[in-house]
Symmetry: C2
DNA sequence: TCCTCATATAAAAAGATGCTCATATACTAG
DNA sequence: CTAGTATATGAGCATCTTTTTATATGAGGA
């Protein structure tokens, strides 16, 4: 019921970024070198490196050097399922601020109109 | 496999905040008026209102006015399960940047020392 | 050893977010 | 209608995050 706030917050903060999600999407299909990640995401090298570091330091990714290349992979494959679950939920979210301004229903007014008293 | 980036990103961004998570934690136990939320979170009124708006506009919360009070509740109770799943994952994350600086293993050097060649 | 490739790090610039303070709106009681 | 309570909104700052630009490090080959 009371989950560990700090941990979850960090998790959401780390994943709450477009570029990092795209990187994860690429790595979801398996281990990749940085060069491959650059190709597939079209991110500038230095920016990708920045985000990879964040993911790595959060423990989401694992890095290993082999020769001149550094290979990244998901630390836990189970992250993919979690992402899918989140995506599923996220896509059901209906955005209630459809119009330019959200307006509170004029409760008191309506009650008067309908001859009702507050309960 | 390829989840809807934009939706998930927004979801993570909205949940990636300490105060918002605390609000959700309170609402996890059921519907609450703003006053009650203020009591339980000890947030300044205006700040709580700010975060409530973000959660509401994201579709995570639902608000309804009854008399002078406005009651908030989770739009989808299933969010709680999702949060728990995320918490579970988040808590397993081992932070690899233990020391002040992370150092890449000196692969080439090690190979030379061990008389190996790159493959 | 020197050069080049692959990748990381640091510092500065640009952008986004969260917080506070002041004020507005909706409702109810008198 | 007036005053008081409940809650929302808006402007300005401070802070944190992302992006860019410049530079460093480590590996392999000539």
């Amino acid at each position: 019921m009371a989950f560990s706030l700090a941990a979850v917050e960090r998790f959401f903060k780390v994943l709450g970024d477009d570029n990092r999600l795209r990187i994860l999407q690429v790595l979801g299909t398996g281990e990749r070198s940085v060069s491959e990640i650059l190709d597939q995401t079209r991110l500038p090298q230095t920016l990708a490196s920045f985000h990879l570091r964040i993911l790595r330091e959060a423990g989401v990714l694992t890095a290993e050097r082999r020769g001149p290349f550094i290979y990244y992979r998901l630390a836990e494959r189970s992250l993919l399922n979690l992402l899918e679950a989140c995506a599923k939920y996220a896509e059901t979210l209906t955005d209630p601020k459809a119009g330019p301004e959200f307006h509170w229903p004029p409760w008191g007014q309506m009650c008067r109109m309908m001859g009702q008293r507050r309960r």
